[in-house]
Amino acid sequence: MQGWAGNILDINLTSGQIETVPLDRDMARLFLGGRGLGARLLWDLVGPEVEPLSPENVLIFTTGPITASASQTSNRFNVSTKSPLTGTILHANSGGWWGMQFKRTGYDALIVRGKAASPVMIEITPAGVAIKDAAHLWGKGVFETTVALEQNRNKRNVLCIGPAGENRVRIAAIMNDKERSLARGGAGAVMGSKNLKAIVVEGLEKNKPADPDQFKFMLYETGKLLKASPLTSQALPEFGTAVVMNVVNEIGALPTRNFQQSQFEGADKISGEEITDTILVKNQACWACPITCTRITQTKSGKEGEGPEFESAWAFGAQCGIDDLDAITEANYQCNDLGLDTISMGNTIGCAMELAERGLLANDLGFGRADRLPGLIHDTAFRQGIGDDLAEGSYRLASKHGAPELSMSVKKLELPAYDPRGMQGQGLVFATGNRGACHETGNMLGPEVLALPRLIDRFATQGKAGIVSVHQNSAAVIDSLVYCKFANMAVAEEFFARTLTAVTGEHFTADDLMMVGERVWTLERLYNLREGFSKEDDTLPARLLHEPVPAGPSEGFTVKLAPMLEEYYAFRGWDKNGVPKPEKLKELSLEFVMEVVHD
């Protein structure tokens, strides 16, 4: 195959039917693959009448035209579905090896429909595609399941859920290659609701470039850039993602104790530097990646595993007022084994801590209680005791206990490790995120803190809309190609475009790619509008809009969302209610949605 395999595998777990359908080439050119293709297919397959945990929801696993080509970081893949946590469109993205291997089975995408009568797994190998009984695996953790299904790094790869997904925990993740995750939004619960325990892949096909000489040149140039950038060649391999813990804290944007403060006195103890100094065993790379940012770590008790990443260290750290790195790391391992999104889990526990301290939750839980983490995480995965409430996510938890405003979430997706009162543009990103408060879809950490590509004033609001929009579009196309966003720290879209051209033989410019990104972003927006979301949902927790930061460099600030939002809708060619205008839909070849939004 050159770029696209041209095939979609379509499996119905209710009927047991397995089909191969051709990939529409026009659709492929417009949406590429990954998140874009997933959104386009989801638009057709899952409408507003579908309950996320019902058999009518689908799981769409997608790769992109450059997946498995051996272009740097061409290992990532995507899952698309309707989220049981937010009710919005959901896309989630993971690395490792599974995506590469799935592409090598000769498919661009896998659609899973319906629900099996009892626990099953799907196996895709050179021998064919089979749905097999998985009752013996149901109830087992991710680690045990991965070993039992004979995970073998470059040859045979396991994707599975843990008990959290099986128990339809709304913040359950889908895991692959043991500790990589399709984490946010509860895709694990959707998989569990289908009685699908695992998908194992073994492939033999290769994604060979249409223009091998040009491909080789691009490989060389891209490698040169990755090596030349201190971000990808030193910072990430040496310290991992948690290296930003200290800088985000230093500027006063590290959410602490459920966003009550924006600096954490224990930040250095849970930072990338501390991880490297104390618990790091070695670093590790995903397939075809020279950046090597994964942490392999070991705690004092001898437990070993991957991580914690920045977000996970924050979620169980500053968010919960905990500075015990060992406890945080083991909480991370535990989430990986049970199949839970660490951001939502940690954020929700922090929410529970505040509820308890305010007397709204009958529990002796409080900030700093590292000893409570293992029990709470376990109970969440098995829906026991208070875990049954935590399993619903912070919004439903806080609402049940009379204080929905104490849930730090947007569209019910828990906020990650940035206090937008210290980074106004990030506030706009969280408020307008299509899957909720998400930092992966346009992170302003670069421009507002790290001066990537250039420094902009993090407290300014004018002019943020353009940069946010461009970053959102860029993230969307990177998620559709599918590349790793860390490659984008050194390599611009003009490189991705030329590599894509070399692989597929079809001509793409940098702005063709940015247009794909804009198209995907807009379609996701339209999906949510069709679901009944509106401009009212483009907002932030009341605390961030009305409670000034009490101390530190960001003291006194709240998020000035309204003017940024107005500029944003105007920049994107949407009307004052945040609905894409007809001219914009035509420009993006999205006419097919027209009657949904414009009568």
């Binding site: 990430l236 310290f239 500027i251 803190v449 004033d457 530190g552």
Partner: protein, 87 residues
């Protein structure tokens, strides 16, 4: 004033925190790098900061103030970050 170092600057400096004299950021950094060539080359490219090195005063990036010429006083805290990235 207090000068905090992060990332790989800590190994180069031997410590993560210093007290340094100076009326401007430049003076404070110069005094820090006085007998430490590896630290100097990590922070400076000639007379300017190495690309992607960030210097903050009380949590505010000096690029948005007066750069290396930004005035500092004894109560201020300077933080120096080498090139870093994350998510």
């Amino acid at each position: 004033m207090k000068v905090k170092l992060f990332g790989n600057l800590r190994q180069k400096a031997g410590e993560s925190e210093f007290v340094a004299p100076g009326a401007t950021i430049r003076e404070a950094l110069e005094s820090l790098c006085a007998d430490n060539e590896p630290l100097r080359t990590a922070i400076f490219a000639g007379a300017e900061l190495q690309p992607h090195v960030r210097v903050m005063v009380n949590g505010r990036d000096c690029e948005l103030a007066n750069g290396l010429a930004t005035a500092v006083s004894p109560q201020d805290t300077i933080a120096i970050f080498p090139p870093i990235a994350g998510g």
